[in-house]
Amino acid sequence: MIPKRRFDAVIVGGGGAGLRAALQLAEAHLKVALISKVFPTRSHTVSAQGGITAALANVSDDNWHWHMYDTVKGSDYLGDQDAIEFLCRNASSAVYELEHMGLPFSRLDNGKIYQRPFGGQSQNYGGAQAIRTCAAADRTGHALLHTLYQRNIAARTQFFDEFFALDLIRDADGYVLGVTAMEIESGEPWVFEARTTLLATGGACRIFRHSTNAHINTGDGLGMVLRAGLPLEDMEFWQFHPTGIPEVGSLITEAVRGEGGFLVNKLGEKFMANYAPNAKDLASRDVVSRAIAQEIRAGRGCGVHGDYVDLKIEHLGAEKIKARLPGIRELSMQFAGADPITDPIPVTPTAHYMMGGIPSNLHGQVVSPAHYGPEEPVPGLYAAGECACVSVHGANRLGGNSLLDLVVFGRAAGMHMIEYLRENPIPRPLPLAEVEKSMARLARWDRRGGTETVAGLRGEMQRVMQDHCGVYRSEAVLLAGLEKLTLVAARLTDAAIHDHSKHFNTARLEALELENLLPIARATLVSALARTESRGAHSREDHPGRDDKQWLRHSLYFCQNDQLDYKPVKLKPLTVETFQPKERTY
C-alpha cells in the first residue's frame, strides 16, 4: 500500500513562486504541503542576482504604467496586456511586502530601497532610462528565497524536502486531485492528495548544453503537464542572456551594465551603439544577445577562438564593485579567472530563461482549450513562476521581471486556491488507475541490461538543442535538429540505469528528469519550426521580420502527434488603453 497524505493544497517546487503561494495558504490556516526535490533554499531562485523590478520611484520619476509599457514592448507585443497590467500594478505592493517580511534590500541614503537601472526600462513610454530594479547587492534572489523560506517557517508550512513529484493525478472529469511522488531518501512512492495542486517547478534550460541554470532545472512540472494531455504555450521562446561565462554558463547579471559596465569586441569597440543607438548596453536582452552573436560571426570576438566578447567595469572603481557587485566579482574570479576590478569579464549569450510554459491565467489557474474556448481552467490545477506562461514575458523577458513574476503570481495563485477550496469543500474520489500508471513509469527504471545511458542521451539532446535551436534559427537547421532529437528520444527505450539501490538513488532521479526534458526539447523545436517570423528571442534567419498579421498569437503544443494549436494574444489590458504593436527599437 502506497503511503497517502491528504492536504488542502499541495505545492510542487520550493522556489520563490512555490514559497510565496505556500505562505498565502499557510497564513490562511489551510493544510498545505510543499514538496521539493531539493531543500528549498537550494532552488534556482537563489541564483537571481540583479533585482526585482517595481516602479517605486525611489530614484527616478516613475509609475507602473511606464513599467507596463516597457514590459509590453520588451515582450515584442506577444505578452498578454491584461496580465502585464496586473503584474506592474501589483509590483510595488509586492516589493513592499517583501521588505516587511524582512528582505535585506540595499538602501539609499534616505533609507528607502535601493534601485538600479536595468535593460529595457524607460520613463514616459520610451523616453529616458528609468531606474526601477530593487536590489539586495547582486544577490537579490538569495535574499528573496531565504526570506520567503523563513516566513514559511514562521507560518508552519509543512515541508517535504527531497521528494520528487512524478505525475499529476487527474480524474475522468478533468479534475486534478494531487500528485504522485517519490521520497528520494527511501526511494518509496507516495501519494499526495489535495483539492488544489500548484506547479512551481521552475525552468528547463537544462535542455541546452550551455545554460545559466542549475542542474535541477529540468522542467519537471512541464513534463507532468504534457503527460496529463495538457498543452505547453510559446515553447519556441527561450531567452539567451547576453552575459554568461563561456563554457561554464554562470550568469553575469545585467546589473553590471546597469551600474555602468559596457561590452567591447576584440578591437576594443563599444559595439552596442551600432545596434541600439539610444539604449546601447541596456537594450533588451534579445537585442544585446543578437548583437554579440553578430560581432562573433563577423570575426570580432575575443580570445583564441574569437567566441566571446569582453564586459568591462574597471572604470567603476574597486569600492563600488565591492559594494554593489560582490557576487559577480566572486563568480568572475572563480569561473573566468578574471578580477573585474582590473580585468574584463569574458561573456557570451547563454540559455537563461523559458518565456513559455504551462498556460495559466491571472489567478494562476492552468488553462487549456476545451469545450467553451481556448482558455478553460483545469479544475484544481495551478501554475506559477518560470514554469507558467501567463503570459507576462511574451517573446522576451525584461531583467528584474522574473522575481516579480514569482511573487505576484505566487500570491495570486495562493489567493485563488483559497477561494477554490472554499467553493469545493468535498474531496473527489481518487482514480487509482492513474496512480498505478505513474507507478509503472517509476518501475520501468528497475529494468536491467540496457544499451544506452541516461547521461549519454542527455548529453546528445543538449548538443542537438545547442546546435540547432540557438540565438539564430532557420527551417533547415531546426528540421535537422528535430530529426536528430527524434533519434535520440527513440533510444530512451533502450536506456537503463546500473544503480538499483532504493536509497537516495540519484541515477534514477536523473533518468526521471530526462523523461521530462526530452518532450520539452521536442516542444521547443516543433513550435520554433512552425513560427515563420522573428519576434523577441525567436530569430528566424529565413523569416527576419515580425509578422503581426499572422503571428500575433500564442502557440500551444500537445505531445500527442506533436499537435499545435494557437490562441490570440490578449491586447486589451484590464483598465488602460492597449499599447498597439509598433516597430521595436532601442
Binding site: R42, G102, A214, H498
Partner: protein, 232 residues
C-alpha cells in the same frame, strides 16, 4: 586524475569504505564537482552526491576534500594533492556516499527563529533603514546554509544536539542586528545558555572554512558582548 571517495550504501552489506577511482580528466579551470559528475556519468552511476546551482550560491554540495570542508562546485582541482580524498561533511549521519542527513543542522537553524519579528502595523511603503544600519547585516545575510562551518566545529562535534553551531548562531545574530527587528531581548534570552551559545570557544574553524568568507565567530562574539552589556 586519481580520487579516493567515501562510499556507503545502507542497502549493501558491509561498512563504509574508501573507493579509488582514476579517470582521464583535464583539471584546468575545473572544479571538484566537475570531476564528481564526470565520474558519475562516465564510470560509476552509483556515486551519490548533492548538487544544484554549481556556482557556490545554493549550498548543496558541501563535502570534505583532502581534510577540508568546501563546496565542491567552487573548489579548483588544480593544486589539490592526489589522490584527492573526498568524504561527506564530518559528524552528521551519512545517508549515502557523500550525502549527509542535515536534519540536526536545520533544526538548530529553525530554533533561532530565523525571521523578522516586528509587531508594529505595516507602513504603506517600505520601513526605512539607513545604509549604515543596513551595513550591519553585511556578512550575515549571505549565509547559504551549506553546513561547512558547523560540521568543522569541534564544539559541535562534542555537543551536536545542544550547541547550535556557527551557522545557526550567525543567523540568530542576523536578526538581532537588523534595525527592523523588535525581538532582540527574546532572542538573547534564548541564546543565554551554557550550551546553545557558550560552547563556542573561539576555535574559528568556521571562519577558516566558510566558502562565502563570512565570520561566524565575530557574530557570536557580538552576541556575547550584547549579553554582557545587558547584564551590567
Amino acid at each position: 586524475m586519481r580520487f579516493r571517495i567515501y562510499r556507503y550504501d545502507p542497502e549493501s552489506i558491509g561498512k563504509p569504505r574508501m573507493q579509488d577511482y582514476e579517470i582521464e580528466f583535464d583539471p584546468q579551470g575545473k572544479k571538484v564537482l566537475d570531476a564528481l559528475i564526470a565520474l558519475k556519468d562516465g564510470l560509476d552511476e552509483s556515486l551519490t552526491f548533492r548538487r544544484s546551482c554549481r556556482e557556490g550560491v545554493c549550498g548543496s554540495d558541501g563535502v570534505n576534500v583532502n581534510g577540508r570542508n568546501v563546496l565542491a562546485c567552487v573548489t579548483p582541482l588544480e593544486g589539490l594533492k592526489q589522490p584527492i580524498e573526498i568524504r561527506p561533511l564530518p559528524r552528521l549521519p551519512v545517508i549515502r556516499d557523500l550525502i549527509v542527513d542535515m536534519a540536526q543542522f536545520y533544526q538548530h537553524y529553525r530554533a533561532v527563529k530565523p525571521y523578522l519579528i516586528n509587531l508594529e502595523p505595516e507602513p504603506e511603503s517600505e520601513r526605512l533603514q539607513s545604509p549604515e544600519e543596513r551595513a550591519e547585516l553585511d556578512g550575515l545575510w549571505e549565509c547559504i546554509l551549506c553546513g561547512c562551518c558547523t560540521t568543522s566545529c569541534p564544539s559541535f562535534w562534542w555537543n551536536p544536539e545542544r550547541f547550535l553551531g556557527p551557522a545557526a548562531l550567525l543567523q540568530g545574530y542576523r536578526f538581532i542586528a537588523d534595525s527592523r527587528d523588535q525581538a532582540s531581548g527574546e532572542r538573547l534570552d534564548f541564546l543565554e545558555d551554557p550550551y546553545r551559545l557558550f560552547r563556542c570557544h573561539g576555535i574559528m574553524n568556521c571562519v577558516e572554512v566558510c566558502p562565502k568568507g563570512l565570520n561566524p565567530t565575530q557574530a557570536i562574539g557580538k552576541i556575547k558582548t550584547l549579553l554582557v552589556k545587558r547584564a551590567l
